[in-house]
């Protein structure tokens, strides 16, 4: 690797750490997201396990220097397994006063702060609403932290003075200086980022050079100045052997759908309308036109799902992607798809609600809507992903159920795992099981056409327009069992309501049984979770067991239908805790179905659970009665 040559001698101590949480924090314009991602990629490539959490404001660009404008990127890396982005920070990069103000509360005592001097000048202190004359760096309020005040802006300018670049470009490169410095602190090579810079600015070599210079200047600064005397080393994690990539939940969802289409031999069609935080999926899929993937940006969410219904009717794997408000709008059409009994994958990347709510924050409060948000009896499968990489498996599963059981399926993700990332030991085409569409191409001798005749799993055949001799009509009015003709006959209606429900229930037989994920087989307390709380619950459980508590953890991917053995399993625990980022939605389903006195633990702050929060709650529960 190219590393700059040293000028002076100094002694630096290297400290081995097994886990560390770094928070890159600055103004929306400071490029902290990119900085954080570059650091993450390098750490990942070196075999650290990790988990990231981008945390940015909902305004496109809130006023510069203000608290509202702070954009943060958090990465948790370790030589051991990492399941969350971390509760508290060991290192905080604060590009301005507002960033420090926002992140100080979650900074560990004794941790390191790297502060950008210029970001703490009078102007910035004022923008961050510090009282006149108050500078947190000087008033002793940070005595419990190790503060490195670095004049990043000035240093960047210096090293780029020769390049003849404008002030704007030079300013823009300061995040590379920071990145270089961090690489030095964590003893990471520059080459991955160097390559990235060269590729990104291939057409603008002068910009590329500037970024490279800044990056190396940052590294040199750590290496040569007396200020920094310790380097941290995070050894590679002992992850299962294999080939890994780093991936976000939205990206994993997108390629999961591509894989499902390929494995089912069906064309992929996406009918969607942009909405945060689901838009990435539509954007990612729109890149694959050469693969025959059709992305239809509809005029609204209703048109999005309706176009998908039309595409499904013609034999495509049809998908619609959205978030809360869009999900609400799809209600009627989703009920229609349930009535038609056609495959459809509905992706809901949950965000803070109700209404417009907190568009860029995370929440799990759309579960009961997924279960019941349609008029009439319109049951459908509901699946939820538990981590960024798990989005791939779960959306593939959702697609499989939709296709093989001829039903719309709701796939729940949320803002936390959608934007967060983790290393993923991705599968290969060869080891992904095929999906079989119940396509009907012709009738057997003497057989009459029965579009709603069901197989042993209550699944009806999928008949594409264009199939000779099988012309028929379908619709939203109640159907006669078998023929699918319109029928207002009372008993038939009841029968059909039961059959549609039985079809969904039958899926029990096609999904794995529930079993404790981590923790004890049969602990005193069961922590039952679903979705993105996985990492926090798992970590809490492991730590508590290490501390001698008797805890089990079951995490649900399948919420409708529940795994067959869930009831039995639940009854085998004394105490059941259900932490959710809502007011107790899974809790209601579990209590109603199994009559177990489970208790809920709500956090509805637009933020994921901290491991510590869950640990405390569990401990508290061990103390009750």
């Amino acid at each position: 690797m190219e590393t700059p040559t040293k000028h002076i001698e100094k002694t630096t101590s290297k400290i081995e750490v097994d886990k560390i949480v770094i928070r890159f924090s600055g103004d929306s314009g400071d490029g902290m997201q990119l900085t954080g991602m570059q650091f993450t990629d390098t750490a990942a490539l070196l075999g650290n396990d990790l988990n990231t959490f981008p945390d940015y404001p909902s305004e496109i660009r809130a006023p510069i220097g203000t608290v509202a404008g702070v954009s943060g990127f958090q990465v948790h890396l370790g030589s051991t397994e990492i399941y969350t982005a971390g509760d508290q920070y060991d290192v905080l990069v604060a590009m301005n006063a507002a960033a420090l103000k926002v992140d100080l509360p979650r900074l560990k005592r004794g941790s390191i702060i790297i502060a950008n001097a210029q970001g703490f000048d009078a102007k910035n202190l004022k923008l961050a609403n510090y009282p006149d004359g108050v500078n947190p760096l000087e008033n002793g309020s940070l005595d419990n932290y190790i503060v490195h005040l670095v004049d990043i802006t000035k240093l960047t300018k210096e090293c780029l003075s020769g390049t003849g670049l404008g002030m704007k470009e030079i300013e823009r490169s300061k995040n590379m200086f920071v990145l270089g410095l961090l690489f030095w602190m964590f003893d990471k090579p520059l080459d991955h980022t160097l390559k990235f810079i060269r590729d990104k600015f291939a057409k603008k070599p002068e910009i590329a050079d500037a970024n490279v210079l800044a990056l190396q200047a940052g590294w040199n600064y750590g290496e040569n100045t007396e200020i920094f005397t310790t380097q941290f080393k995070v050894a590679p994690a002992k992850l299962p052997a294999g080939t890994y990539r780093n991936i976000t939940g939205n990206h994993a969802t997108a390629i999961g759908l591509i894989a499902a289409a390929e494995k089912s031999g069906l064309p992929l069609f996406i009918g969607s309308y942009p909405i945060t935080p689901a838009t990435d999926i539509l954007q990612e899929l729109s890149k694959y036109k050469a693969n025959g993937i059709k992305t239809f940006q509809a005029e609204d969410e209703i048109a999005g799902i309706c176009a998908a219904i039309g595409a499904s009717y013609t034999g495509s794997l049809a998908v619609t992607t959205t978030s809360g408000p869009g999900m609400s709008l799809k209600t009627e059409a989703l009920g229609f798809a349930t009535m038609l009994e056609i495959p459809l994958v509905v992706v809901n990347v949950q965000r803070g609600g109700p209404s417009t709510g907190l568009p860029t924050k995370t929440e799990q409060a759309d579960l009961l809507m997924a279960m019941h948000g349609r008029h009439g009896e319109a049951p459908l499968p509901v699946l939820a992903a538990s981590s960024p990489a798990d989005c791939f498996d779960t959306v593939m599963d959702a697609s499989r159920l939709a296709i093989e059981h001829m039903t719309p399926v709701i796939f729940l993700s949320d803002g936390y795992i959608a934007n967060g990332s983790e290393p993923w030991r991705f599968p290969t085409n060869e080891n992904i099981p095929a999906i079989k569409a119940p396509m009907l191409k012709k009738l057997n001798e003497g057989e009459t056409l029965m579009p709603y005749k069901r197989d042993e799993n209550f699944v009806r055949p999928w008949i594409k327009p264009g199939t000779k001799g099988l012309e028929h009509r379908i619709g939203g009015l109640e159907k006669e069992n078998g023929t699918g003709n319109v029928s207002y006959e009372p008993i038939n209606h009841e029968k059909m309501v039961q059959l549609r429900a039985a079809k969904i229930k039958k899926i029990e037989d096609f999904i794995p049984l529930a079993k404790p994920d981590s923790g004890n087989e049969n602990g005193e307390i069961l922590v039952l979770g679903w979705g993105s709380t996985y990492g926090a619950i798992k970590t809490a459980t492991r730590e508590l067991i290490a501390e001698g508590y008797d805890v089990s953890h079951i995490h649900l991917r399948y919420i409708n239908p529940f795994p067959k053995n869930l009831g039995e399993l639940l009854h085998s625990y004394e105490k059941i805790l259900i932490p959710e980022m809502n007011s107790g939605q899974l809790l209601q389903l579990i209590r109603a179905k199994y009559l177990v006195p489970a208790v809920g633990y709500s956090k509805v702050q637009g933020l994921p659970f901290a491991t510590s929060e869950i640990k405390e709650k569990i401990i508290e529960l061990t103390k009750t009665y």
């Binding site: 080939t243 059709k294 209703i302 176009a307 085409n429 264009g466």
Partner: protein, 344 residues
């Protein structure tokens, strides 16, 4: 719309298209005639039976789907256009026919209607306009005339109605035509034109609802009034009408005036040009605008027909070009991405 289709050695006949469902419209409903004309012309369309797809919304009109022995979806209220867009985008081989009512299309379905016109999918849109909500038993619709007394407007509707062809043109429709239930031959001709047109073919069909809005369009079909009240447009021909067929229209600057052909130099007469959008706009406005207080006859026929690329064609082209240029990315490449590392 026009679809790439294989001639089916012309064997199909009208009754091949009537399903085994008993038709459940009121006696005398204009929908019967429309059904009849569609079944009459379909065998001549040169499309394989299994490639026809009907997508309808909700309303008396939307029941149409059940009576055609083709593929069909009786969908939800107002959404037929959106569903049909998905059908056509996913399988451009199909001959897609949307059937919808004035409420279904222009009230709840208005957004999908205008966006379909703009996107110009290669589909046909049959709007059965009876100027009333019939299935729900008689409330005014967005095409009901101002002042109309209905169950929800007991003292007269206070709303300015839409002019469907004007709206379609404003939304960039590439084909706009009007016909009526009581003129079978004319309707058959228009249906064929619609089928042949590449792009979204919007056909407004005046349809009588004897139960809730009887006689709304009789002036255009009754012998006594028809000649004076209706103009039948023909490309390249003057806009002739009148009891003795001696009336025509001339444009004074931008203002149409009714003239008697005998006092006119033929060259001054307005000659119908389907491709002229400005004229199409004017014609569509004969509907409800009084130019200088003069009442104009109602135009029937193809008001506007423009050739412009269809959504489905452009989509296919773009995908094909990209395929040729980049080729299909193998799944394994998509799964791995370009930044991977090994753990041993």
């Amino acid at each position: 719309m026009e679809t790439s289709t294989i001639q089916t050695n012309g064997k199909l006949v009208s009754k091949d298209f009537s399903s085994d469902m008993e038709v459940k419209w009121c006696p005398g409903c204009g929908d019967y005639s429309i059904l009849k004309q569609v079944q009459t012309v379909f065998p001549e369309m040169g499309v394989k039976k299994e490639n026809f797809v009907f997508i309808s919304g909700i309303g008396c009109s939307s029941r149409f789907t059940y009576y055609m022995d083709t593929y069909g979806m009786h969908s939800i209220h107002g959404r037929a256009a959106a569903i049909a867009s998905g059908v056509k985008a996913a399988n451009p081989e199909l001959s897609v026919w949307i059937v919808s009512g004035d409420g279904d299309s222009l009230s709840i379905g208005g957004n999908h209607f205008i966006h379909l016109m703009r996107k110009n999918f290669d589909v046909n849109y049959l709007l059965f306009n009876n100027q009333i909500y019939s299935l729900t038993k008689g409330q005014y619709s967005p095409t009901s005339e101002k002042g109309k007394i209905t169950k929800t407007s007991p003292y007269g509707s206070i709303e300015e109605p839409f002019n469907p062809s004007e709206l379609a043109l404003g939304a960039k429709a590439s084909f706009v035509a009007r016909t009526l239930d009581r003129d079978p031959k004319h309707m058959q001709g228009i249906l064929k034109r619609a089928h042949v047109h590449r792009g979204t073919s919007f056909v407004e069909i005046y349809q009588n609802c004897p139960v809730f809005n009887d006689g709304a369009f009789f002036a255009f079909s009754d012998k006594e009034t028809k000649k004076e009240e209706a103009i039948f447009l023909e490309h390249g021909k003057p806009l002739l009408f009148g009891n003795n067929g001696d009336k025509a229209i001339r444009l004074d600057d931008l203002t149409p005036v009714i003239v008697n052909i005998n006092d006119e130099c033929v060259n001054d007469l307005w000659i119908h040009d389907e491709k002229d959008k400005t004229k199409a706009n004017l014609i569509s406005r004969f509907f409800d605008t009084h130019f200088d207080g003069v009442h104009f006859p109602r135009p029937f026929g193809v008001i506007y027909a423009e050739e412009r690329p269809t959504y489905d064609d452009i989509l296919s082209d773009q995908m094909e070009k990209l395929y040729i240029k980049k080729g299909k990315i193998p799944l394994n490449k998509i799964l791995s991405g370009d930044k991977t590392w090994e753990i041993l």
